[in-house]
């Protein structure tokens, strides 16, 4: 018993959160030995962090316990009860592991970046910290600070290593997200200062607090706007295609893989857990927005000529499923949404990675210019078609299970009547027809057919071992989850039950 206490006392989470940014700041003190050493150093840090995370979660985390674990609580600013309060539960463990995995692979994918690589890798590591911090924080203000912390690296990564229109899209990104953050801050302060005795920012105490309905709705809207920008939810989505179209593909991996998921995570963590009444009021509207988003983004996507923008719209479309899952207010639907968070994290990252690598070779971003590159790069072709299949929810891959479970969530939901349910499911399923249209036509335009390039053929080479490693190591979990979804579902099932119990007992 005593032993267990001592091991629990070790500040695992603090180390996990702080290690990347701390080690990243050491990059600037490394001797000038070229980019190579910096890359390897960053990669080692990432792997170390991933291993540390895995170790901690293996040995110090009980899956069947729905409560917060590995809690750390240090007073930081006494004046308004601000604590360095970390802890994880079944909801956040999945995204944290995803962050570790995707960031490591993104570092590996950023191998060709040579310009100013110290700063680049530092920013990657800083982002790592920020993301894990926001997933692990149990204090509302700390959550906000971490949320802001990871914005700055993204902005810099965009504006310095992006494509031609990078400044435009970086500005757009920062304005959108900063605009969202204003609402987040207002929400945080409002919720924190509501109880008149003293400010409370602790998630646990806040979760048991109840508000007058009008006030709760106002808070809800505030938080919702912030997360809607991040997720993104239409009509606040236009930063995403621009950002993804311009960013370097390693940044895109992080953006699509993790950043978007922070919005979904926040929606569950704050809007569902803290403000259940408002959520059940808003959820029908959210479902409508979600279905519209699926159709809207899926039908916008085919007319995009830029490869990355098309994939970006496909992410927007897939986020619709998360919204629907979250707002179905059923066990099944929420589990499906969490599964979709993880699954899209893998698939989206992989698609951007492959698009980026093929762009690196042919230097043509527009789909009507490329064509017939399957002959030259069969491996990229294979991986790209596998991931398009995963993205269009082919059974046996993770996307299918997530979407299927979300469908069940809607079906079993007690909240809605028969006719609306039929309509919603019908419209969602139309998205199922539109998705293959744009994904397959993209892969057709890029890879199928033939085209004689003016560039000499020796310029093209198939993906090397590094790129192959990245794509295969994303493919394996995608198939693994698709075949045995309990891998991810077992993480979150108990916690989801606790969250949903709020909706029925209060």
């Amino acid at each position: 018993m005593y032993l267990a206490f001592t091991t629990n006392f070790f500040p695992w989470l603090t180390i996990i959160v702080v290690l990347p940014i701390f080690a990243g700041s050491l990059i600037f003190f490394l001797p000038h030995r070229g980019n190579r050493s910096i890359r390897w150093y960053t990669l080692c840090i990432c792997i170390l962090e991933l291993l540390l995370m895995t170790y901690t979660f293996c040995y110090h985390f009980q899956l069947d316990d729905p409560l917060i674990q590995l809690v750390e609580n240090y007073q930081w600013i006494k004046f308004f009860d601000f604590h360095w309060r970390l802890g994880i539960d079944g909801l956040s463990i999945g995204p944290i592991l995803l962050t570790g995995f995707i960031t490591t692979l993104a570092t590996l994918a950023a191998w060709p970046v040579t310009r100013d690589s110290r700063l680049f890798h530092f920013l990657m590591l800083a982002m790592y910290s920020g993301q894990i911090g926001s997933f692990a924080s149990r204090d509302l203000l700390l959550f906000f600070i971490m949320w802001e912390l990871e914005l700055i690296p993204v902005y810099l990564l965009l504006s310095m290593w992006g494509g031609k229109k990078r400044l435009y899209s970086a500005t757009k990104f920062i304005l959108y997200t900063a605009g969202g953050s204003v609402f987040l801050l207002m929400g945080v302060l409002g919720v924190g200062l509501y109880s008149f005795n003293e400010p409370t920012l602790n998630f646990e105490t806040l979760a048991n607090q109840s508000y007058p309905v009008a006030l709760e709705i106002i808070f809800y809207i505030g938080f919702f706007i912030a997360f809607a920008v991040k997720l993104p939810i239409i009509p606040l989505h236009t930063w995403l295609p621009d950002t993804h179209g311009e960013a370097h593909y390693s940044t895109c991996m992080l953006l699509a893989g993790i950043l978007l998921k922070m919005g979904a995570y926040g929606l569950v963590r704050i809007n569902m857990e803290l403000l259940p009444h408002a959520h059940s009021i808003f959820s029908p509207w959210l479902i409508i927005v979600g279905t519209m988003q699926i159709i809207y983004a899926a039908s916008t996507s085919p007319s995009q000529h830029n490869l990355k923008k098309r994939i970006a719209y496909s992410s927007v479309s897939h986020m619709g499923f998360i919204i629907i899952g979250i707002s179905s207010i059923t066990d099944t639907g929420l589990n499906g949404a969490i599964l979709q968070i993880i699954s899209h994290g893998f698939i989206g990252a992989a698609l951007f990675f492959l698009a980026g690598t093929s762009y690196d070779r042919i230097r043509l971003a527009y789909l009507d210019e490329v064509g017939g590159i399957a002959i030259l790069m069969p491996k990229i072709f294979t991986m790209f078609s596998s991931f398009s299949m995963a993205s269009l929810a082919l059974p046996g891959m993770s996307g299918f299970v997530a979407e299927l479970i979300i469908f069940f969530g809607i079906i079993t939901s007690q909240k809605y009547l028969l006719m609306p349910k039929i309509l919603i499911i019908f419209v969602m399923a139309i998205g199922m027809i539109l998705t293959p249209i744009y994904l397959l036509s993209m892969s057709r335009q890029m890879f199928y057919g033939y085209k004689l390039f003016n560039v000499p053929n020796s310029y093209f080479f198939d993906s090397g071992p590094r790129e192959l490693f990245v794509s295969i190591s994303i493919l394996l979990p995608v198939i693994g989850i698709g075949i045995y979804p309990d891998l991810v579902l077992s993480l979150s099932v108990d916690r989801v039950e606790v969250i949903l119990s709020n909706f029925f007992y209060r």
Partner: protein, 747 residues
């Protein structure tokens, strides 16, 4: 006995190692894997044979005990719901798995030779084994979700295999079209599954049937909703089995390699829709509307497929439309409630059509060396003809397949088709008339294909009467399209084969030639054997290798004898044929009563009628397509007929031109879909893109621009001139004072 059942779960997984290993091998050790080439083919054949033995064993056990075995494992368990995986072994499953494995093995053996020189040899085998895995999974699955999963996987395999030669733009379009069309069906299937889950709360077949029956008999469900769900469920089958509104993908799917067309698009995958309806038969049979709907769709497809097959000049497309028509027969049989007959026709048709496709593959293979590797030419029946001399064995096999499909007595399809036609009389006279006349059409178009391919002279070196070497790129007309009056007045039927007005012919040839150039450029890196091309003018096609012929001959045997499993041998005892015996537990609507009084007299009467219709079709085909110059003695006869109808010639021509146009343009359905649906999606995409760009993004950018101008304005105002600041300061102070003053006065 239980022993084998317990291990039956292994059926779908046995062929799985091949694609996995080949995939990993090709990715990580490409050269080593490629060196092993034939080893992989051997293994996939071996594994599939193991499955075949296992499923035959299961079938025999089914015959003896006629029990149904089901086993379930949980897959996803949650508080609210659970998904299960399992397998269900019943007669339907074992019959289907025998069918899949036997055709699969033969096709694998065949394609070892057919694909031998292709760069994608290993990829091909990987895909094929993946397909067998998922198809076997489909037939053994025990609940609807599992069916859906394998349904999609099968569709994906079909996508991959249609797009196998991905450098061909046509193949690229075709595979996308196939996938999207199938996805439309899957959309229906998924919604139907969800709907039935909502009604019943289970995916298991047995629960589904029992609960549903109770619900219907107690009248506890909304009938409209049930019908909607059943129609949606049926939509999946419609897409997969290429039934009427969603059949457009099947002819295009012929862009894939020919063994694929034989296995997937003729014998097994397209039968998945039939399988689904057969599997859910107890569900559908409770709702009479749905049964009528199914038979309606079936009869439309029967007729449409047959008419569209009339004027195809690509040999595989012709066969594809014929497949569609035959699948329509099966659907019709299911809709009429004769479950057994549908399955019987499924089996016989699968073997016959596989034979025909493999035969056509053999023809194409031999043509390719003469005319080149473009599918426009090697599959073009215009260029074939007179192949009897060059490929005699293939010819015999093809002829047997053709006869079987036409319904000529000793061959397989006769038995099953005859039963369907008989049942259709019991069901509805109108449907019966359509079905009977389509049987004649079937005979006509099948013999048209056969005659154009094998009879007459080899058309690549075709010389017409004036001795000029004709261009090989005229399009084939069924009865002549417009050119009938201008060319060869005396010999109208000679022009059947090569009529086209001159300018269009030249235009066409030029265009085709360009395509040819491109194709040659592209296919060269893929095909390692030297390109023969057109320079080799007087070479002749040769017979295919023994490996290919072996598969053909085995299929010939199947075609000859597979009909016997469904023939009622002995009339004193009932249910003696193997098929009915194994399917006894299943429902059989029409035969419940009719079985007893069906005797040889009835049988012979019906059979002779159907055979006579078929032979009438064959006769017409012979009359029209027997090449004139090879048998000049017929000329008088033909001319006699022509003169006789000469008075009504113009009207006649008009009618046949309409039919020809209808058939050649695929009933205008494809064109309609292209303009309406594809155009619609594109338009929608443009519209939303415009909306997204101009309005949603426009607002954002507008805000940005406005703030920019405001900022500039403020910058201008705050330009740093003291006098300006003073002016502002004083003016605001004065305004404030004024306001203050007014307020003061008011108060």
């Amino acid at each position: 006995m239980e022993h084998t059942y317990q291990y039956a779960w292994i059926i779908p997984f046995v062929p799985l190692p091949v694609p996995v290993l080949i995939g990993v091998g090709l990715f990580l050790f490409p050269t080593a894997t490629k060196n092993l080439r034939r080893m992989w083919a051997f293994q996939s054949v071996l594994l599939l044979s193991i499955v075949m033995i296992l499923s035959i064993d299961l079938f025999i056990q089914q015959l003896n005990s006629s029990s149904i075995y089901q086993c379930i494992w949980s897959w996803i368990i949650n508080n609210d719901f659970s998904l299960e995986f399992g397998y269900l072994i019943d007669p339907l499953t074992s019959i289907m798995s025998i069918l899949i494995t036997t055709v699969g093995i033969l096709v694998l053996i065949y394609s070892d030779n057919y694909m031998f020189h292709d760069q994608g040899y290993l990829r091909f085998f990987a895909y094929m084994s993946l397909f067998s895995t998922s198809m076997l999974g489909l037939v053994t699955s025990s609940n609807l979700i599992q069916i859906y999963i394998f349904w999609e996987l099968v569709g994906m395999c079909s996508y991959l295999l249609i797009g196998f030669w991905f450098t061909r733009p046509i193949a690229a379009n075709a595979c996308q079209k196939a996938f999207v069309t199938n996805r439309v069906g899957d959309f229906g299937l998924l919604l139907g599954i969800l709907g039935f889950y909502w009604i019943i709360g289970s995916f298991e077949f047995r629960d589904l049937f029992e609960i549903f029956k109770n619900l219907i008999s107690n009248n506890e469900v909304n009938v409209l909703f049930v019908i909607l769900c059943a129609v949606l469920l049926f939509a999946g089958a419609v897409a997969k089995s290429a039934q009427f509104p969603l059949h457009v993908w099947l002819p295009d799917a012929m862009e894939g390699p020919t063994p694929i067309s034989a296995l997937i698009h003729a014998a097994t995958m397209v039968a998945a829709g039939i399988f689904l309806v057969a599997r859910l038969f107890p569900l559908f049979i409770v709702i009479p509307y749905i049964m009528n709907f199914i038979s309606l769709i079936g009869i439309i497809t029967v007729f449409l497929g047959a008419t569209l097959a009339l004027a195809q000049k690509d040999i595989k497309r012709g066969l594809a439309y014929s497949t569609m028509s035959q699948l329509g027969y099966m659907m019709l049989a299911l809709g009429m409630g004769s479950y057994r007959t549908a399955l019987f026709h499924l089996i016989t048709h699968a073997y016959s059509k596989a034979l025909l496709f493999l035969g056509s593959g053999s023809v194409i293979h031999s043509m390719e060396t003469v005319v080149g590797y473009s599918p426009d030419k090697s599959q073009n029946m215009v260029l074939m003809g007179g192949l009897t001399k060059h490929v005699p064995i293939t010819k015999t096999a093809f002829l047997l397949g053709t006869l079987s499909l036409c319904g000529i007595p000793p061959l397989a399809c006769f038995w099953s088709k005859d039963e369907i036609l008989n049942d259709s009389w019991l069901y509805s006279p109108i449907f019966a008339i359509i079905a009977w006349s389509t049987a004649g059409l079937t005979a006509f178009y099948m013999f048209r294909i056969y005659l154009l391919t094998f009879e007459g002279h080899f058309n690549v070196h075709f010389q017409n009467y004036s001795g000029k070497k004709s261009t090989p790129f005229y399009s084939i007309s069924l009865w002549g399209k417009g050119g009938l009056k201008t060319i060869n007045k005396g010999l109208p039927l000679l022009s059947l084969l090569r009529i086209n007005s001159n300018e269009s012919a030249s235009f066409f040839s030029k265009k085709t030639y360009q395509i040819d150039e491109n194709v040659r450029k592209i296919t060269r890196p893929f095909i390692t054997i030297p390109y023969f091309g057109n320079n080799n003018t007087y070479s002749y096609p040769y017979e295919s290798d023994n490996t290919m012929l072996f598969s053909l001959l085995v299929l010939v045997l199947f075609t000859l004898f597979v009909g016997s499993i469904g023939i009622p041998f002995n009339q004193e005892e009932r249910d003696l044929d193997i098929l009915s015996k194994s399917l006894t537990p299943s429902i059989n609507l029409l035969h419940q009563n009719s079985k007893n009084y069906m005797d040889w007299y009835e049988f012979v009467k019906d059979a002779s009628f159907s055979v006579s219709i078929a032979s009438f079709g064959i006769f017409i085909a012979l009359f029209l397509y027997k090449p004139v110059y090879s048998s000049l003695q017929n000329l008088d006869l033909i001319n006699f007929f022509v003169k006789k109808i000469g008075s009504k010639r113009i009207l006649w021509n008009k009618i046949i031109n309409i039919i020809y146009d209808w058939s050649y343009n695929r009933g205008y359905i494809d064109a309609f879909y292209t303009t309406s649906l594809t155009g619609g999606v594109r338009g929608l995409a443009e519209l939303t893109h415009f909306f997204d760009r101009r309005i949603i993004d426009g607002i954002t950018n507008g805000v940005g621009v406005i703030s920019f101008f405001v900022g500039e304005g403020i910058k201008y105002v705050g330009g740093g001139r003291i006098s300006f600041y003073l002016f502002f300061y004083l003016s605001f102070v004065s305004i404030f004072l004024l306001i203050f003053y007014f307020f003061y006065i008011l108060i």
